[in-house]
């Protein structure tokens, strides 16, 4: 019905190499893009500034982390610190008079340079040990930021982000901030999608599956492990810079603590390791489930005139949220992207479910 196919058969290599080989998928991507671009006209301002904008930014960050965790199989528990370096780096550059376009890249480079140093641990250790090494990075960066007043900004430890210009347009108000975040997110998405079909992506996949096996088949694991950290940290830094300029507008050290790192890891895992779409789904679930559940419980309590205590009212959403995460990990360990895939596979040859794929 939707895909109008009896199986997936290509007659030319070019067809198979496309990002989205099926017309239906291409149509869907265009539709989503149109909806996102036209969102300011379609949705209420509240949903634009407090749902779509953070979603786009967190998805960008999750994509960067997913390249490292899902793509190259290297765990990272300090991604919040990576974003912090990007945010602080670019904001200080902007305050020093560097145009935002360059400051953003500069923030990314700062993150990449520091990220690769801690990523170096990945050359020697794996799994839980690498988790500890990156966790150490989180705390070292936190400590440095909050203990150097030059970086954190004096006794109040808060830096206001100046109004910057992106390609000549002042990034202030609802629309420019949203569109800047959307553009960066689109660029990162297209990049990550393409990584999968290049030699880089295949090398990272080889490293992910087994690093010494990759070495044996001629993949330079030294290079690709560091490269994975470099790219992922660069994206993290850029995402941090977008987060600071477009969303937070005043940055302080506590915004980039371990909670942010854990949140991002959760997004990647719940969304689906190695999946681009999963990063978007994961970001949406982790960011908005607490808000939506909170509003829901609050709304039910108000609507029905129940007098439940504030303690209960604020903890029930958290319990539901926890149950939700456990539920997803239990029933769909491969993440939200897999759920989408299941649905897609079902409709792929529907109604001829026994047709060959």
């Amino acid at each position: 019905m939707l895909y109008r196919r009896a199986g997936l058969r290509h007659t030319r290599y070019e067809d198979e190499r496309q990002l989205w080989p099926l017309p239906f998928d291409r149509g869907l991507v265009v539709l989503v893009l149109v909806v996102l671009v036209a969102a300011p006209l379609l949705v209420n301002r509240l949903y634009l500034v407090s749902y779509l904008l953070p979603w786009v930014i967190w998805s960008t960050a999750a994509l960067g982390l997913n390249l490292l965790m899902g793509g190259a199989g290297q765990i990272h528990l300090g991604y919040g610190a990576v974003m912090a370096m990007g945010a602080y780096g670019s904001v200080h550059l902007v305050r020093a008079g560097v145009p935002f376009e360059f400051a953003m890249v500069g923030g990314g480079l700062i993150s990449a340079c520091v990220g690769i140093v801690f990523g170096g641990a990945a050359l020697r250790v794996q799994g839980l040990y690498l988790a500890m090494a990156t966790l150490a990075m989180q705390y070292v960066v936190d400590f440095v930021i909050s203990h150097v007043p030059m970086i954190s900004g004096g006794t109040q430890a808060t830096i206001q982000v100046p109004t910057v210009r992106f390609l000549g347009i002042p990034v202030a108000g609802d629309l420019p901030t949203y569109y800047v975040a959307l553009i960066i997110c689109a660029i990162v998405t297209v990049f990550i999608l393409n990584v999968g079909r290049t030699s880089l992506g295949r090398a990272l996949a080889a490293v992910r599956e087994k690093d010494y096996a990759a070495e044996i088949i001629g993949v330079n694991t030294f290079k690709f492990k560091l490269l994975a950290f470099w790219i992922s940290s660069f994206i993290g830094g850029v995402a941090g810079s977008v987060l600071a300029v477009c969303y937070l507008r005043a940055i302080s050290p506590d915004q980039f603590h371990i909670e942010l790192s854990i949140q991002l890891v959760a997004m990647v895992i719940v969304g689906g390791l190695g999946s681009v779409l999963g990063s978007f789904f994961g970001a949406a679930l982790i960011l908005f489930a607490p808000i939506v559940l909170n509003n829901l419980i609050g709304g039910i309590a108000d609507g029905l005139g129940l007098s439940i205590s504030t303690d209960l009212r604020s903890h029930v959403p958290l319990m539901l949220y926890g149950a939700l995460i456990i539920g997803f990990l239990l029933w769909e360990p491969l993440g939200l992207a897999k759920i989408y895939n299941n649905v897609r596979n079902y409709f792929f040859v529907w109604p001829f479910r026994h047709a060959q794929r």
């Binding site: 749902y51 969303y247 937070l248 507008r249 607490p290 029933w331 769909e332």
Partner: protein
Amino acid sequence: MKLNRRRFLAATAATLTMPATIDFASAEEKVIRFAMPQDFTRVYTFVTAEYSQGQRDYITLVNERGGINGYRIIADVSDHGNDLPRAIEAYEKAKREGAVLIDPLSTPVARALVPRALEDKINMVTAFSGRSDAADGTAFPYVLPLSPNYWTQAGLLVDYFRQQDKDLKGKKIVFVHIDTPFGREPLPILQVLSQKLGFEFQAFPYTPPGNDQSAIWPQVRRARPDWVMFWGAGVGQTVAMSEAVRNGLPMDRVCSSVWLSESDMDVIGREQVKGVLKVEPCVSGKDPKPVQAIINEVVSKGKGAGPENKVGTSYYNYGVMMGAIMIEGVKKAFERNPGGPITGLWLNEGLRSITNFTAEGMIPPMTVTKEDHQGGGGGRIARWDGTKFVPATDWFAANQDVVWAEIRKSSEEFRKSGK
């Protein structure tokens, strides 16, 4: 019914899309909306619960008495869990619903919301939290601490030491603090005061969140301090006190900021910490008139917002105090512009013209002006006697010259930034 994957997914999808399909909004005439997204679950927990209970009970009291000029006050309480996306969502939602005041009771959230509040002209109350330099109303017209900030609290304590010891020359004051921007905040004030008054000053930072401070306190003991100030929040406070007791420091020379309550004392043992001092911004206990009125007109009728045994505790009374100040702002706003319209600017004018307000004797006389958002910086020192906090001094304000020099320095930096 067995819970399988499909049912789980269906239930989740239904739950998450429900708020979008049901419109809970209720249209009501003649209301003034206060938004109170606060942290009930992450960091401040019981502090928020008690503070919010007092605040809501006071607002219920006002509404029960017929509101202000026929307007009902709606206090929209929700949980932001100290998480910025959630807090910003709550803020934007409040803005859409027409809230004229927001009280996030969280330092990180308040700091992050400053640019938005200033731009949207929504009054953000940052009692005992947020930026200390927001006391400078000329730089932060819509950010209102309306309470003695941490610099003032440190100034009050040092002045109390001076009153007790007559002269602080050669004395040693030790400052044990959580190693975060919040904990380091009083350092500049203490340094200036040590120069000015000639006392020796030593700072001992402990790592956040402060559930292990056993390495610090023996050093504090060895320093042989005349006075010990400990500065933290949540678990750090109780750990600090129990370590002070364990190291045999004289408890009547140990003191802290406004963040000390009966609940903290229960954790350590009420008798153990007899003598501990704290800064009190308002009268504690059930005696103040507003609290009496709440007990008679709200709690006894079963309309209280929380457990009855919390009524009259320190943080509950902070909530009552802040509720009373906000309502006084509304009254003043009606005096100035009886016709409204009810906007952030309208309430701002009211809040910034509060004069000599004492909340029926509950707080030191408070005057908020367009320059001074702190309200004078008055407070008193109270001593824990094993069952309750007993005032050790009368209301006083101290060292405001030093505090304001720091406020101006910091607000000047703020003015220069963000451009």
